[in-house]
């Protein structure tokens, strides 16, 4: 989101065009236009007094390089060793840029069937953990059966991670897809990768999913989700009252609480200065390798 805001107008328009081009396959296109308008409104008053540091934008791309913010568990030497090991692993395998909401294909070598590999395609619904413990969850519906698989990002049995469609969704976690109608997370296992043109910002998919009737796995109504359209239909009066009671509007003003959840900019820039050059080199060399791939047109989602 913030990536989109900070890019120039041309790029914003590019992104808008890209989204419009794809809208034929979206389920609900209604809130899309309003979303873009909000983006531009926010962008105009955002005058930055501090100099804008582009190296810090890596935090969206490689969030696992930032350590756990809990000061009880931090140690600069351990973090350094961990980052060095992560870079060593990254030199062996291409771990691409992806976000929650992107569609990935992961190939692992299968210890249970010797000499074979196992490939799974799905939408990334969650990314968590930092350092070498970073992991992500893929979800798909295969043969009308919802399946989720959790992978570790730096697991040496992973042979390749391929991004089939690079995009973001409206929420940070898509766990509500477990309670959504199955067509929202059904992806064919032989999906073709869609390649974004060079330099375009990562598009945000404004699709809003429909939830199945209750019972749900969690109380989605209390989580202020943007990517769910029909949450109000399923609520009773009791639920609305309880939602109001549980709201914590003061939490966004709790400056220290937010501070304790993040890594300050000064420490981040140190980390990125340490790892950025190597990451950039790897990226460039990988790009040279994959020049041959041609741009394919996006396929319809609900074919």
């Amino acid at each position: 989101m913030s990536l989109v805001i900070r890019k120039s107008t041309v790029e914003i328009l590019c992104a808008a065009k890209w989204i419009f081009r794809r809208d034929c396959r979206l389920l609900s296109t209604l809130p899309e236009k309003t979303e873009i308008v909000v983006d531009e409104k926010e962008r105009i008053p955002g005058r930055k007094t501090r100099s804008y540091n582009p190296i810090l934008e890596n935090r969206h791309v490689y969030p696992e390089f930032l350590p756990d913010p809990n000061p009880n568990w931090r140690n600069s030497l351990r973090e350094k060793m961990e980052r060095a090991d992560m870079l060593k692993r990254r030199s062996q395998i291409d771990i691409p840029e992806f976000y929650v909401g992107s569609i990935l294909a992961v190939t692992i070598s299968d210890p249970h069937a010797q000499g074979k590999t196992n490939r799974f395609v799905g939408i990334c619904i969650e990314r968590k953990g930092c350092g070498l413990r970073a992991e992500f969850t893929l979800r798909n519906v295969v043969d009308h059966q919802g399946i989720e698989v959790r992978y570790e990002l730096y697991d040496p049995t992973i042979q390749s991670i391929q991004v089939l469609r690079l995009e973001k969704r409206l929420d940070d976690k898509l766990l509500y897809l477990r309670d959504a109608l199955p067509e929202y997370c059904t992806f064919p296992l032989d999906m073709d990768p869609e390649i974004l043109p060079e330099g375009t910002p990562v598009p945000i998919n404004p699709v809003q999913v429909k939830l199945k009737p209750r019972p749900w796995l969690e109380r989605w109504e209390r989580q202020e989700l943007k990517g769910v359209s029909n949450i109000e239909e399923h609520l009773k009066e009791k639920d609305r009252v309880r939602r109001e009671l549980r709201k914590t509007p003061w939490e966004k003003y709790d400056l220290m609480k937010n501070y304790r959840k993040t890594i300050p900019a000064e420490e981040q820039s140190e980390i990125w200065n340490e790892v950025y050059n190597q990451l950039q080199q790897m990226r460039v060399s990988r790009k040279k390798m994959s020049r041959k791939r041609t741009v394919t047109t996006p396929k319809t989602q609900l074919a």
Binding site: A113, F120, Q145
Partner: protein
């Protein structure tokens, strides 16, 4: 055509299961979903009377992936193997949206001839370990699977 009818019914069916997280583990009286095409299993699922666990054959009495269970299905006692769980699984092991079971007889031979949902590959190792030379051979189940994840 009958299968497509079942497939249409399944999303409606799965809402009938317990979906609260506290009942996510397979234990006594958990309702399961039969995923093979055995006659009794198909009919039980179509009637909306999914089988209930009446015994889990392990020490913990909580069913994990690959465990044998005894189920009550349409007034009969049948054995089955758990081939997919709702619980949080280990890394690289798939977690399913329903608790799946494949019915077998005492020798480990599946009652049906096909499994119409994906099967976790870890079952290959688990079932091989559980099979003894003279006892039941559970690896026959792997032969009728259509897809592994």
């Amino acid at each position: 055509m009958f299968r497509s009818l079942i497939n249409k019914l399944i999303p409606v069916q799965s809402c009938g299961f317990h979906t609260t997280s506290c009942l996510n583990e397979v234990q006594l009286l958990t309702r399961l979903r039969v995923v093979d095409n055995s006659e009794i299993g198909k009919r039980a699922m179509a009637e909306g009377k999914p089988p209930k666990v009446i015994c889990v054959y392990n020490k913990k009495r909580v069913g994990y992936i690959g465990d044998r269970v005894l189920v009550a299905i349409k007034g009969q006692k049948k054995k089955g193997i758990l081939v997919g769980l709702k619980q949080t699984q280990k890394v690289k092991v798939p977690k399913f949206d329903s608790n799946n079971v494949v019915l077998i007889d005492d020798n480990g031979t599946p009652l049906g001839t096909r499994i119409h949902v994906p099967i976790p590959t870890i079952l290959r190792t688990i079932l091989k370990e559980k099979t003894h030379a003279k006892g039941a051979d559970y690896t026959k189940l792997l032969g009728i699977a259509t897809r592994f994840v």
